[in-house]
Amino acid sequence: MNPQLTDDAVAALPLHAGRAELLEEIMQTPVLDDRPLATPDTRRRRGWLAPVAAAAAVAVLAGGTAWWAGARGPDPETAPPVAGGGPATAGAPADAYRAVLDAEGWRVEDVYDDAKQDTGDIGYSKDGASLEVDWYPAAGYDSRYDDRRHITDPPSDGSPVDLLGLPSSMWAYSADDHTVIRPVENGHFLEVRGSGLTEQQYVALLGQLRLVDADGFEAALPEGYVTTSERRGQIDEMLDGIAQVAKPLLPAGMDRSSITSDQTDPYHLGADVTGQVACAWVGQFAEATRAGDEFAAQRAVGVMETSYRWPVLKQMDARGDWPEWIWSMADEMTAGQVPPGWRQSCAD
């Protein structure tokens, strides 16, 4: 096993001749193709024929079977434009673009559902193996697909897999690490990555995925996750806890109803809520500092210093580093500094 050297240690290795020689060797190779990767021709080579059936079952088909055009590609006159982000037709309801796993023993590890950015993921695990389902808006399909094509050398369209009724593409990062991209359907596409699973196990698991709409997604979450009907109450509960120590809770002119979230995972819900409260105060501090308003600046510092006692952050501290970020901003403000990069971080 190579030692995990730092880049500085690597730079100190006596490799000068080999380094220089490689540079010259590379520059002597012909530049074969420097066109943009995602040309229409490239994408069309993917060459799907029409899906045979819209059954949800997954079936990996041996290379060269009837509907997989393989190297030759389909008749362009008859093939539907599935690849390249074109509309696909498995017949799923328009709002059923998320997918959940119905497999015994698999446990939900994390959930992230960002309605604003129209993206999210749900991760499952069992006995050291993991399966992650991501959904994205259609606009990102081409670049994602193109990126995954380069998992192989030379770039390839992967192995054909039927995922949830649509002909999809599978690539292997390693013998037990695979990913599948499902074409766009109803404005979204799916990527499913399985780690710690053989190809056979992975493909079998893909067959136990199910497309769901927002309600179906919430229904599939285990206890402890926050449903739409519970969310406002949970947010208010978190704000009440913060308001016990932070006085006032929010800067003047800002109402608690403006604090919102779409998250189902309590951790991410807490991050949304505390992030919005903290960013409001950091914003006031930055503005007050710029304007020389000492009173407003001190009020912001005072509230942020209470963040070490916000109950929701104390609960979140065991699970992740979000509280550390809030507290580090509080420390900066106590030291009289506007936290560097706060505007970008708060915008993210």
Binding site: N2, Q4, L5, T6, T119
Partner: protein, 185 residues
């Protein structure tokens, strides 16, 4: 072949050779595999120079290429590069068996190996390469909003494995300015 193209590539190579080679060394078992991955990565960059982004985005782009090259190696269908023979030999001789100048403690490395592949990957990019969520997203081809919670969870899981021992920040991986922001959600 324009000299402008060669000049651009020389600058790219000089600025990122150590980082790309370090990236490969930290993820391979043998020095020659790291040398091959580095040669392949820069060969891709040479051929696709027009697509290499400018400025601070260059390194994540190169890491993204190197990641795919290494995936090919692991799948076993790599071809021995015809380039970089001397680098391969020099690296095999120069590589120390052990070193104090490593990116993290051995117990942290051992704990990371017990995490899932995706948790390992995001943590390695954060702790070893010092990338922030935005850059990790670039390397992995996913969005920043997905990286953030993933990184947070991965760190939490690593901390559990280490018995609540704080995850060390990692050795600064390069002489470039440390990119990691304080925010580590």
């Amino acid at each position: 072949m324009s000299s402008g193209r060669e000049d651009d590539f020389r600058r790219l190579y000089a600025a990122h050779f150590d980082a790309v080679l370090g990236f490969a060394i930290r993820r391979t078992d043998r020095p020659e595999d790291a040398a091959d991955a580095t040669a392949e990565t820069f060969l891709v960059a040479w051929r696709r120079l027009a697509h290499v982004p400018a400025g601070a985005d260059q390194r994540p782009w190169l890491y993204g290429v190197a990641r795919r090259v290494l995936a090919n190696q692991r799948r076993g269908d790599r071809r021995r590069s015809s380039l970089g023979d001397r680098l391969r030999r020099e690296l095999a001789t120069a590589m120390p068996d052990t070193s104090d100048e490593v990116v993290q403690r051995a117990d942290v490395t051992a704990a990371m190996r017990r995490l899932s592949a995706r948790d390992q990957e995001v943590l390695e990019l954060h702790l070893w390469e010092g990338l922030e969520p935005r850059e990790i997203a670039e390397v992995l081809g996913i969005t920043t909003t997905v990286v953030r919670p993933r990184l947070s969870r991965a760190r939490a899981r690593l901390r559990e494995l280490l018995g609540n021992d704080p995850v060390p920040p990692g050795h600064p991986p390069s002489r470039r300015p440390q990119l990691t922001r304080k925010e580590q959600p």
